[in-house]
C-alpha cells in the first residue's frame, strides 16, 4: 500500500489498522505535516511502545506549536491595536484561536491574516514598526510581482522571533479567474474575545477549498483536506450550514473548487457531504486523488508526471497565458 493511503486510513478509521507498517505511516505523516493530528487520532489504541512514545512527543510538540501560533497572533494584535484595522486570522492559526476540532494536533507554520485592501500598507508599516522585517529585496522583481498581482504582501519575518507573517487582502491571487468578495469575508467574520476575528464557518470552508483546489499544486493537500473534513463535520451540526455554504461558494465564484474539495474529502476521509453542494463524482476526481496520494512508504513523492501536471495547472490557474509567459521569462533571465 502507498503510505499516503495508509495515512488516510489511519486518520479516517484508526480502529481498522491491523499491524501496519509503522515506520511508513510515521514517515508519511511527517511528510504531510499530519503527525500531530495522527497522534491524537491514535490515542488510546494499542500500539507498539516506541510508536506510542513518538506519538506522545508529537502531541506535546503540537501543544507547543499551538502556543507559538496563538502568541504570534497576539503579538500581531498588539502591533496593530492602535491602528484599529480589523484583523481576520486565517488557516491554522484561526482554527486554534477559535478552538475548532480542526485545531487538534494541527501544525501551523506562518501566521496568515486578512485585512482590508485599502489598509494593507498601513498594516505593513505598523508591523515593521513592531519588529517585523521585509524578507525579500524590496526593489526586486519578486516584490513588484507580489504587490501587483498577488493577494498578499511579500512575507514579513519577525527580527527576534524568526516567525513569518503573510498579510493578505483577499484569498486568491488577483490574476486568478474567480474573484472572491474580500469585503464580504471581512464583514461576516466572527469576532473572538481577543478582538481578533476568524472567517464565518461557510467562508472558512470556501477559503480552505480555494487554497487546496484553486491556488496550488496540491502538494501537502492531505492536510488541507483533513482540515476540510474536520470543519465540515463540526459545522454541519447547524442545519443552516449547507445552504449557507452553497450561497457563499456561489457568491465568491468558487462553487466548483468547493464542490471538488467536498467530493475529495468524501472519497478520502468519508466526510458526510450534502450532494447538492458537492455535486456528482467526476472522472477527474480520480486524478486529484492519485495526486494527493502520491507518496510511498519511504515518504518519497512518486508519480512525477502527474505531480508536474498539477504544478503546471497551478500556474495556469493563477495567471493568464501571456502573464505566465512573462513571469517564467523574467524568472529564467534572473
Amino acid at each position: 500500500m502507498r503510505s499516503a493511503r495508509l495515512l488516510v486510513q489511519a486518520l479516517r478509521a484508526p480502529e481498522t489498522l491491523r499491524d501496519p507498517d509503522w515506520s511508513a505511516l510515521i514517515a508519511a505523516a511527517r511528510a504531510e505535516q499530519l503527525i500531530g493530528s495522527l497522534a491524537y487520532r491514535l490515542e488510546n489504541l494499542d500500539i507498539p511502545p516506541r510508536i506510542a512514545a513518538i506519538l506522545e512527543a508529537a502531541q506535546q510538540d503540537a501543544a507547543q506549536v499551538r502556543t507559538q501560533a496563538l502568541w504570534e497572533a497576539e503579538m500581531c494584535r498588539r502591533a496593530l491595536a492602535e491602528t484599529n484595522i480589523p484583523v481576520v486570522l486565517l488557516k491554522g492559526t484561526a482554527f486554534h484561536a477559535a478552538g475548532l476540532d480542526a485545531s487538534i494536533g494541527r501544525s501551523v507554520g506562518d501566521l496568515d491574516i486578512l485585512v482590508p485592501r485599502d489598509r494593507i500598507e498601513e498594516a505593513e508599516a505598523a508591523l515593521i514598526a513592531a519588529g517585523w522585517e521585509r524578507m525579500k529585496a524590496a526593489d526586486g522583481y519578486d516584490d513588484l510581482y507580489y504587490r501587483r498581482w498577488m493577494h498578499e504582501l511579500p512575507p514579513l519575518v519577525h527580527a527576534t522571533r524568526d516567525r513569518m507573517i503573510d498579510v493578505h487582502h483577499t484569498i486568491l491571487p488577483l490574476t486568478a479567474r474567480p474573484t472572491p468578495d474580500a469585503d464580504a469575508l471581512i464583514a461576516d467574520a466572527v469576532e473572538l474575545e481577543s478582538g481578533l476575528s476568524v472567517l464565518s464557518p461557510a467562508d472558512m470552508i470556501v477559503h480552505a477549498a480555494a487554497h487546496l483546489i484553486a491556488d496550488g499544486d496540491l502538494a501537502g493537500g492531505l492536510r488541507n483536506l483533513w482540515d476540510i473534513d474536520r470543519l465540515v463535520r463540526q459545522f454541519a451540526a447547524d442545519p443552516a450550514f449547507w445552504p449557507t455554504l452553497a450561497k457563499r461558494a456561489r457568491h465568491h465564484q468558487l462553487e466548483r473548487p468547493v464542490a471538488r474539495a467536498l467530493r475529495l474529502a468524501e472519497r478520502l476521509y468519508a466526510t458526510p457531504v450534502d450532494r447538492a453542494v458537492a455535486g456528482r463524482p467526476s472522472l477527474s476526481d480520480r486524478l486529484f486523488e492519485a495526486r494527493l496520494l502520491a507518496r510511498n512508504g519511504w515518504g518519497q513523492e512518486k508519480r512525477k508526471a502527474l505531480r508536474f501536471a498539477f504544478y503546471v495547472r497551478s500556474h495556469w490557474l493563477r495567471m493568464p497565458p501571456l502573464m505566465l509567459a512573462r513571469h517564467l521569462w523574467t524568472k529564467a533571465r534572473g
Binding site: 529585496a137 519578486d142 534572473g334
Partner: protein, 134 residues
C-alpha cells in the same frame, strides 16, 4: 494616589527592603535576552551546507558593502560569487578574514550579505548553523 500607596505597602513584603539601589541603566543597554531557536553548532558540525551569494531570488544582483542587493554596475559593489560558499568559508568571512578565491575588497560585502540572511531565504539554515556561542 494615597490609596494605591497603602495597598502597595501591604504587599511590600514581596519586595526587597528600601534603600537597595536599582540601576535603570542607559537607553541603549539591554536587560532582556530572549532564547532563540538554535539549530546551533549542531547542524554546522554535522552537515554540509551551502550559502549562495546572492540567493536565487536575486540572481544577477551585486552586493553593496552593507550587504544589500544592488543592480550590476553600482560603484563599490561586489559581483555575485560564481559558486555557493561552503560553511567553513562563510565562517571565515564572518570572522573578518578572506577565504581563498574571494577578492579581499569584496569580503565585507559578502559577510554582511550573510548576516542579513533571514529565515526562508536560501542559505539561511546554513547561516543559522554557523552561529556559535562564545
Amino acid at each position: 494616589m494615597s490609596g494605591t500607596e497603602d495597598k502597595a505597602a501591604e504587599e511590600g513584603s514581596v519586595m526587597p527592603s528600601r534603600r537597595t539601589v536599582l540601576v535603570l541603566g542607559a537607553a541603549a543597554a539591554s536587560t532582556v535576552v530572549t532564547i532563540r531557536p538554535a539549530l546551533a553548532q549542531t547542524a554546522g558540525s554535522v552537515l554540509n551546507c551551502e550559502i549562495p551569494v546572492p540567493g536565487p531570488h536575486a540572481a544577477g544582483s551585486h552586493i553593496a558593502r552593507d550587504g544589500s542587493l544592488v543592480p550590476p554596475g553600482t560603484p563599490g559593489a561586489a559581483p555575485p560569487l560564481a559558486r555557493p560558499l561552503r560553511g567553513e568559508e562563510a565562517r571565515m568571512l564572518l570572522r573578518g578574514s578572506t577565504p581563498p578565491g574571494v577578492q579581499p575588497g569584496s569580503s565585507q560585502a559578502y559577510a554582511n550579505y550573510i548576516r542579513r540572511l533571514q529565515s526562508g531565504m536560501s542559505g539561511f539554515t546554513c547561516y543559522a548553523s554557523l552561529q556559535m556561542p562564545r
